[in-house]
Symmetry: C2
Subunit: 313 residues, 2 copies
């Protein structure tokens, strides 16, 4: 058993059991891939893949069990390398943060400016993605830190930390009748076409929930991934916008008005997530501390080690 074999097993599953692709992905020959698989199966005395003739179709039961261990081992191998870099070049490296548009645009700029100043030699990769992509990148080890409001569900593989709380607000064009309706009600809003976030983005779930609880079926005219698009179409008069209040800028958004709506929609919590057992460089902890003072390295480490206890460092 060697690491190349393990990498091949993992890659074979990822590439849908096409060994030719696996060979390309791992920069080796297809024949070698084939042989490695056979060797490993022989060594273990178990067939790992379901075959039909010469094609591979999927994992056998033992293969499925094995894959879990294989992935952990390869992840640990990565951790070892990261750990070594940590010591050899402690302020040089890379940090990948995956997040949504809303956070990237409105919450993170301050944090990132600060971080770049403190760690000029760390290459910060800010990757913008949807809920599924965020989770996949975290679990796949491609991203170190995730920041999102939705989608970061409680999973045993992830450790989540509340970052900040915020509310949705209404955005309307100057002079819109809703500006006169105080107090604002869900019923009043439901009379107009609504422009808001896509399902699964930036607290959209909470919005739907609020209307559903009030037995209202709002007319969602249009959905967008980000507040900038929402504002654009509200300004064009296509409807009223429901979006994160921090995305409104009184100076720049001259033609629009913000209406507080914290009494109508449940509070949203934007969380920071890391994968348990994923080795984080020192500066990754600094990044999290920059986001929220209370999320110290100790707090994050103890909550994110695989055993869920406090004996780490």
């Amino acid at each position: 058993m060697n690491f190349q074999q393990l990498r091949i097993i993992r890659e074979t599953v990822r590439r849908n059991f096409n060994l030719t692709e696996v060979g390309n992905a791992l920069f080796t020959s297809q024949s070698g891939v084939s042989k490695h698989i056979k060797d490993l199966e022989e060594e273990l005395g178990v067939e790992l893949f379901v075959r039909k003739g010469k094609r591979l179709l999927g994992l056998t039961d033992p293969g499925k069990d094995l894959l879990v261990l294989v992935e952990r081992m390869l992840h640990d191998a990565q951790n070892i390398k990261t750990l070594a870099e940590q010591y050899s070049q402690c302020d040089v490296g890379q940090l990948t943060v995956v997040t949504t548009h809303t956070q990237a645009r409105y919450a993170l700029p301050k944090v990132i400016t600060e971080f770049k100043k403190s760690f000029p030699r760390v290459r910060l990769k800010l990757h913008q993605g949807g809920p599924q992509e965020i989770i996949d990148m975290l679990l796949g080890g491609e991203a170190d830190i995730a920041i999102a409001t939705e989608g970061l569900a409680e999973m045993p593989e992830l450790a989540l930390f509340p970052y900040y709380r915020w509310h949705h607000a209404l955005v309307v064009p100057v002079g819109h009748p809703l500006l006169e309706r105080t107090p604002l009600s869900l019923e009043a809003i439901a009379d107009y076409p609504i422009i808001t976030y896509h399902a699964g983005f930036t607290g959209r779930t909470r919005i739907d929930q609020a209307f559903a609880d009030a037995s209202l079926t709002p007319d969602v005219e249009m959905t967008a991934l980000d507040a900038d698009v929402i504002k654009t179409y509200v300004e064009l008069g296509l409807g009223v916008g429901i979006m994160a209040s921090m995305a409104f800028n009184p100076q720049r958004d001259e033609g629009l008005r913000l209406i507080d709506a914290r009494h109508l929609f449940p509070e949203n919590i934007t969380s920071i997530g890391v994968r348990r057992g994923h080795y984080l460089r020192g500066y990754a902890y600094r990044f999290i501390e920059l986001c929220a003072d209370h999320l110290t390295e100790q707090v994050v480490r103890s909550a994110s080690n695989p055993l869920g206890n406090q004996d780490a460092l």
Copy 2:
């Protein structure tokens, strides 16, 4: 990075940094060991060992951090092999149970008889050891299951399950004055020389605690590792015995009498322990089920997976 290198790192620590011994232990040459260490350090760009001249003295800080990951990876490698055997030869294999004399002698015979009948092709190794040895064997992966009353402290690496409850009792020679003292009191017992278990064995802690709580200092004349020795000396008239009640056999122990003492000493709980993340063969779960009906495979698996949650199978 390859497995041989990792094995060498681990073994180097275990063998107190004597590379010659490491070579012998891993059935390879000492020069190869030396080179592997150097290669790995070079690849990682970090010194893993503290050196004085040409001698290795200990781990550096990065070395310490690394060792944790290395051990998990090697453990996973072992798990993979065990897992494969599980499928290739599902009722053939080996099961190592480490336990104390008391359990081996009085609690387990029935379980083991039953187990051997169900799994004739599994080689059952029953290893008898003291508290420290039991823990070391579990953590080192040499034993699959531990059964003990003391010493199996709550550790994050271990999952513990209550097996059965029992009490200490008094054992005296026929015609001993304590047989007339009803109700029996700690004070009365403390008047006689006492023969009981070694510190740390078979609930000895509870016995000491009971006397201490009553502000008594008993005269512990002699200590033994097992009840058979205790009974022998009680029979010789050297003192009164305090031992596990299930170790008394009215037929065989003719010259002795048992006096119930459950009102004097706290209850003891004998536990079954497994190491989290240590892969157990199917028959290992059967063994535990034979001990206690309620400890089904599902119960044990969900409590002993490293994340401590219920999503395992």
